[in-house]
Every structure is written in C-alpha cells, then in structure tokens.
Amino acid sequence: MTEEVEKILKGGLEVEIVPVEGELNVGPQHPGSGHMRIFVRLNGDIIEDVDLDVGYVHRSVEKLSENRNYIHLIPLIERPAILDSIHMNMAYIMAVEKILNVDVPPRALYLRSFAAEVNRIASHLYGMGIFGVFMGHSTAFMWGFGDREVWVEILQALTGARVTNSYILPGGVRRDITPVIMEMTEKAIKYTRRKLNDWKGIFVNNPNIKARTQNVGVMTKENAIRWGAVGPNLRASGVAFDVRKAEPYAAYDKLDFEIPVYKEGDAYARTLVRIEEIEQSMKMLEQIMREIPQGNILSDRFFKQIPPIRLKKWWEGQHRIVMPGYYASFRPPKGEAFARVEAGRGELAFYVISDGTAKPYRLRMITPSYRLIKVFRELAKGSRYADLVTIYGSLDYFPPEADR
C-alpha cells in the first residue's frame, strides 16, 4: 500500500513533498526576522519549537572595551542600541562614576532624566512602529517613525546628534537645556498627546489589532520571573518592578510617576504598557522642566580644570561645557562597580572592573534584549506560525542590543 502511494508520488510530480511537520528558516533575510535566523519547527500551523540563531550583529563590545580608554568607550557602548543610546551611555557612566567617586550636580541629574525620558518615548514609538508592521499595519509603522522624529529633533537640539548622542560624561552632561528646547518639548508633548488619541483609534483600539494581540504570547507572572523578563514586558505580566522606582538614579527619586502594570501578560498588555509609559514620560518631562534646579552641569572636580577663557566662551556663552584635558586618558582608581538603569526595553546593567590603568580590566553589559532571547523562545513554543512575528514585535526585541 505504502509502496503504491510512493510510486504515485514519485511518478507525476517531481516536487519533494513537505510533510505536515517541517522546518522553516525564518531569516536572516526575511522581512519579519530582523538580524537573526529563527529556526522554526512547525506542526501544521503550530510552532513546536524555535531556535534563535542570534549573533549576526555581534560587535564584541565587551572585548573591545578591554582595549579602549574609558572615554573612548562612550560612543562604542551606545552602538548596540542606538535608538536607546542615552540609557546605554548613562548606565556605563554611572558605573564609571562609582569607581571615580564623583558627585554629579543636581541639574545634571535632572538633565540626564530629561534626555532619558525623551529617549524612552522615541524608543517606544520605534518599537510600536516595528510591532505594527510585523502585523501588516503599515500606518503604525510610518506613524511610529514619524512621531519619533519629533523627539529625535529635541535630542538633536539638546545633544547635537540625532541618535548617537554621547551626551553624558563622567561627572555631568555635555550641554545645558535652553528655553528654546523647553518650548520645543512643550509643543512636542502637546502634539504627542493629540497623536496618541489617533494612535488609539487606528491601532490600539482597532479590533483587528486586538484580535491579533489579545491572548497571544501570554507570559504568566511566574514565568516572567523565571525566564528573567525585564522592562515593559515584565510589567505587562503583573510584576511591578522598575529600576527607576526600585533603585532610583538620576533625578527619579524626586519625580512623581507611576509605573503602569497590567495583569494579562499578553501582547496587547505589553502594547498598553508602552503607550502608558509614553504618557508617564511626558508627565515627567513637564515636571523636570518645571522643577529643574539652577546650577552647574559638571562636577566641580572637572569643572575647575576647564581653562577660564574657554569656560567663558562656552559655558557662559552657549551653555555647554567643554572637556578638560583630563578626560583624554584618565586612570580611575582600582575598584569595581555595578550600575543599572531602566532602559527603554527594560533593566540594563553594567559591571566595570578597573585595575588602575586607563582601560577597564573587564566590562560586562547585560542588555534587556539579551534577556528576551529566552523569553521569545519560550513564548513562541505552541503558538501559531502567524503569531511568531506578533510575539517578536510585542517583546520589542532588538537584535543588535542582544548581540552587543
């Protein structure tokens, strides 16, 4: 009997019959894979197992760090997540500051929070755009990127670059906020509030998007903790954890904000958390602009080293500080430090060991996306093939950040 079937099959059609169970190579060149290969084992429409082949955008940041001066690392550290570069920069600098033992003036702390929140909004909008286009919603894609542009414009005015800001230095920040930037931010907040209403109309409340995301990729509270999920994904699973609250850094201990937490743990809850975080961030920005204290933006220890003529020209003239020669190759004392921040995608941790030379002895960075690899794999098991991209997008997984 089977022989007959085989004969028939071999006879007419010369195409290999793909069994109901089969493997599918999604990526590395695939519109829905990003910089990685997702090796999917399918049983009908159900995913039995996925293997994430990551590392296509590995930059060897950790190893390179052992061969670069501390200051040289700032632009390099940002590269893994350029759309979230302020956070990358900040966590690294916070670790270095702990080793150097410098105090940061309050105005600089507020400015760090300001830049970080602007960056968080931009990063969330970017993530939602990618999420939208993964589900075929091209308007969300374009809106995400277009509305992000407004915030990127503010970062550009503040730091001088659109994404690779290199804004934060040991001991402070490089540029001060001006009334022009404050006015821009106020307008941007008004615009984004209006636009978020339309986002809700066309994307968040759209029955189509709801159908695609609700009960998809459900991560229970226990699983979220066990798999080590971080950031908005963790908060969408009902765990109220946010580094900004748990271990306040920058100016977050002085800012009032809530962390949105949802119970369901599915893709829709993750989207809602992001949308609400954007609202919270805008609230924080308003508070920062109201309450920002006057003062210096660089620790006195370094500020005093700036030549007086330059100080007059740059700090008094243009509200930006310049670097004293000290930065070119400084040697922090022996020691080690750990610092963590709440980046756009979740907790980001840096561990730096200094052996007293101008280069770190060891630098370890644990990025939020790195932790999502496991989460992504576990969530994809047992879902439908069409939900692979939904889970991917809803986690806001960013391959370069994971590969580092």
């Binding site: 414009e153 690779t164 109309g201 709801k210 009902g238 949105p260």
Partner: protein, 164 residues
C-alpha cells in the same frame, strides 16, 4: 495593577472598526506630512549640531589632545613644516564631537554640514590644509535650493520653515 476590558459586545466592536476607518479618513482628508523635500529643500541644522569638523590651522598649538581623545582613531597628528597638526579621516569619524570639546584653544569647530558624498575612500581623508577650510557640498540642482529649518508644531509634528 490594571486589566483591559475583555468580551466586548458586537456594537462596540463595530464602533471601533468605524473609529479606525474614521481616523484613517481624517488623515486622508487632512494629511500631516513631515517629509523634507530634499534636494529642493535642504535642512539648516541647529547651532551646536555635531556635523563635519573644521580646523583653524593657525590657532592649533599641536597639543595632540584631540588625537588622544578620539574614540575612533579618526584624528591623527601629522608633522607639517615642523608643526604638529591634526588630520581627519571621515571614513572613521563617528561625529562624537569629543575633539572639538577637548581642544584647549578652540582650534576645531563643528560645522552644520553633514550631507557630503565622496567617490573614493582616499577623499575621505582630509590633510591639515583641506581640513582647515570650510567644507560644503550643497545638493547640485539647476534651481536654487531652499534652506529650511525644522520646527516642532503642536498640530503637525514637524514643519519646515524657510530660513532667513
């Protein structure tokens, strides 16, 4: 901890469908566009934008700080007529602006130019002479290029206003 409402009635669902279509129609009738019509329009970047860098040769004291701080090894020192001067390789530069910030005599300056194109890699290396000239490559057009400035607008996001 919040929960989103589940189990919605069909009428609300229909309403949300209509709302989505209505939002689409709203933007179809009144589009808000943020495209910059390059090259007819070209953006003037804000002061302090970290674009391409220029050197003031006579001011430089040859202290090598800029080459030391450069994270990408883009800035290198050369000796020209007995004087040490920096040269830059734009193939490596990451436009971090550290060199500008650290120069003790302000011999380096950020220009607002960033849209330049080169035909080969050798042209990317600017020796001190080329480095100490203003560099600009306006888009080549038969019509004059309108210089615009990006402004944030409450209604439209970003608008471009002519720069005067």
């Amino acid at each position: 901890m919040k929960e989103y409402p589940k189990k919605e009635n069909p009428f609300k669902l229909l309403g949300q469908h209509l709302e989505a279509i209505g939002t689409g129609l709203k933007y179809l009738v009144k589009p808000t566009r943020i495209t910059l019509m390059y090259p007819e329009e070209s953006m003037v970047l804000p002061t302090g934008y970290r674009g391409m860098i220029r050197l003031y040769k006579d001011v430089c004291i040859g202290c090598t700080l800029c080459a030391m701080v450069c994270p990408a090894d883009a800035m290198k020192m050369v000796t020209e007529e007995g004087k040490k001067l920096p040269m830059i390789n734009y193939g490596r530069c990451v436009f971090c602006g550290f060199c500008v910030d650290i120069c003790p005599v302000d011999a380096l300056k950020e220009t607002g130019v960033h849209d330049a194109a080169f035909t080969n890699r050798r042209e990317l290396i600017f020796d001190p002479d080329k480095f100490s000239q203003d560099f600009d490559q306006p888009p080549t057009m038969d019509k004059p290029v309108r210089k615009v400035r990006a402004k944030i607008d409450e209604k439209k996001g970003i608008v471009y206003e002519p720069d005067d």
